[in-house]
Amino acid sequence: MKKKVLALLLVVALVASLAIVFAGCDPTDEDKVVTMDNIKIGMICLHDENSTYDKNFIVAMNEAAEALGLREDQVIIVTGIPESDECYQKACELAEEGCDIVFANSFGHEDYMIKAAKKYPNVLFAHATGTKAHTENLPNFVNAFASIYEGRYMAGVAAGLKLNEMIANGEITAAQAKMGYVGAFTYAEVMSGYTSFYLGAKSVCPTVTMDVTFTGSWYDETAENNAAKSLIAGGCVLISQHADSMGAPNACEEAGVPNVSYNGSTADACEDTFIVSSRINWAPYYTYLVNSLVNGTEVAKDWTGTIATGSVVLTAIGPNAPAAGTQAKLDEVKAGLQNGTINVFDTANWTVGGQKLTSYLADVDTDAAYAKDTEAIENGVFFESKHRSAPYFDVEIDGITLLDRNYGNDAE
């Protein structure tokens, strides 16, 4: 017995000494003057590049780093970090490794990022999709999102044009113009996304309706594939999705049903059915963060990327599926969104229970009770991403049928 203890201690001592020998301490330096040459960014991702969502963040980070001329050792990307204490620990580790900016990409990472921000006041903690920076009021914790509903709206226009073409060709009647949508969770980010997509389609194809189903997961290839198949079986003639795997696009390619994608082009895998995809380009935000730190300017608490900042983008349209004239129409709508002649959530274009909405309190300031606190409708327009960057449009409008309200675990 004693010998075993001895052996154990020896091994522990051996490993520990190895660790210490190889250690080179690099504590956070309070007096560090941040320059383009020494700035260090750490990024925490929920999954890795197999998820289209995380891939979108990683690709943008690499683009931004290259454009800014950052070396490889100045960008640390950590993948597969769940929404638990592990996120906090990773954020702290990145801060200790000398990162000046720590960025996290998943909704559920927020509380842990706030905790880390309190511990490391000299490091900037930026969190995408989060909602708490404007109420938390920490000098070094910021949120960011983009007005992706505008991108979804444009993608919806492309979908509507496709439906019009199918009606004109006699493939479906105007009454059969039903789209299907595979969503992840029943909350504002997804609801705002599918509603803007629907309104885009409705702006060119007035008879369109939509069925929505939820998988309760951000990344579940089988569930997303099955959801798309059951929507197709239920009479949907065009599918879009807000979940991160290739499940839905692949189901569409197999069934020959047109698909509007998200997070990036799926044209390579689905060349016959891919219409277009909207995505948030995070590179402008990364560039903004780095430049702000290097120049010593203040970083916005709650940053909203737009079409103008290059944050909301559409991919190139697909080779075979889109209707004729899609690109020209998209350019026109984009101009309209930018000069303010088109408002996505203009209450003139949608109703709730047959009534036009004149007032709506949205839950902008996150609290434990999820209380509705801010009037979102002004001058007949629901202003999304105005009071905070993360979406808060969660109205269920006419024309969209929720087939279920499933939500489960593994939130983004």
Partner: protein
Amino acid sequence: MTKFKFEPIFHLAKRTDIDWKKSWGIRLAAFILSILACAVVSTLISDRSFGFFFENFFKAFNTPQKLWNFFHDTAILLIIALAVTPCFKMRFWNIGGEGQILMGALGSAVIITFMGGKYPDPATIILSLVLSLAFGIVWAVIPALFKAKWNTNETLLTLMMNYISVCIVDYFIKSEASSGTGTMSFDKGVVGPIGNNEFILKIILVAIVTIFMVVYLRYSKHGYELAVVGESEKTARYIGINTKKVIVRTLILCGAICGLIGFMLVSATNHSINTASTVAGKGFTGVLISWLGHFNPLGMLLCSFLFVFIDRGATQVSTYARLGASYPDMMTGIFFFFIVATEFFINYKILPTHHFKKKAKAEEVEEDTTETEQTEDVLAETVPTLNENVVEDTNSAVTEAEDTATPVVENTKEVE
């Protein structure tokens, strides 16, 4: 055995004579080899050099925060292994640690949801600990009662109860957290850091549980009784042990520790509950650690230490080489592969056939003589005594299943 059959050139024979130095030496060598194998695999799948692996592997331990995290992760894995160990020593195959911990976590979540911020924090914390223990115990005792009363298969029952617990916790989150994202977070009524250190409390708790477990398994009457029940239920009954009582009692202990872990994860670590990331499969890794540590608390300490060492090192390499989130799992897989393979060579030796025959014959003769001896003597050999033998005997349990397949004559001394 008059029928003619082809004899293979080599046979396996069980080792009985291997000394501790040699066996732990082999294990240590396997550990070092597994790290080398990890390095080779990493070099092959990435465009980095061989040195890159080692250079970055040890960066996982170069700041105080990382070292604390390292010790903390080791402690959590160790306590999970400790929780299921008494069950395994009793040959009660409890693979429901995951669910028992999740139920413990739920206990804390329930109390914090309804009391957090409304009542003083110490009251909330104490009550959440109590409810965690209660939930953990209930979830562990159910399969124990079924086993004791109706001799049901505990492996299936504990496994399936894991999934039930996930559903219950999901239901609770769905009905109480209206965020719709599947995570429930708490900011009041939870255990905060002690003197700015959020790890030390849990590490101390685990140390206490470890010492308790060493004493319990090795020097207490309870520990002795459960080991006897594990060795042979008939023997246990013969010497007057109430086996049903022992089964239930042991599972209460296991459930209580699982409840404590659930409490630590919700109230003292994550401050949130989510069926995917609160326990995150550690309940199953703990089972593996328990086996690899041969149910010896110190062996388990070593195993969880090495496991976390490789996991954290590999995570660091993966980050710097951009190898993706599955890479650390591959590396820990290689580690387990080596360690499990090692157990085979520690427990068996490969002998040429003619040599095996001679040895077998010799032992058969020996066998005949022991059978005529007094029953008490046989008992004395089989019933584990309150010393190292308990551990040594179970050492061979890992490969026990293979015994039937290999022509070994060791195990004929059963008191059946």
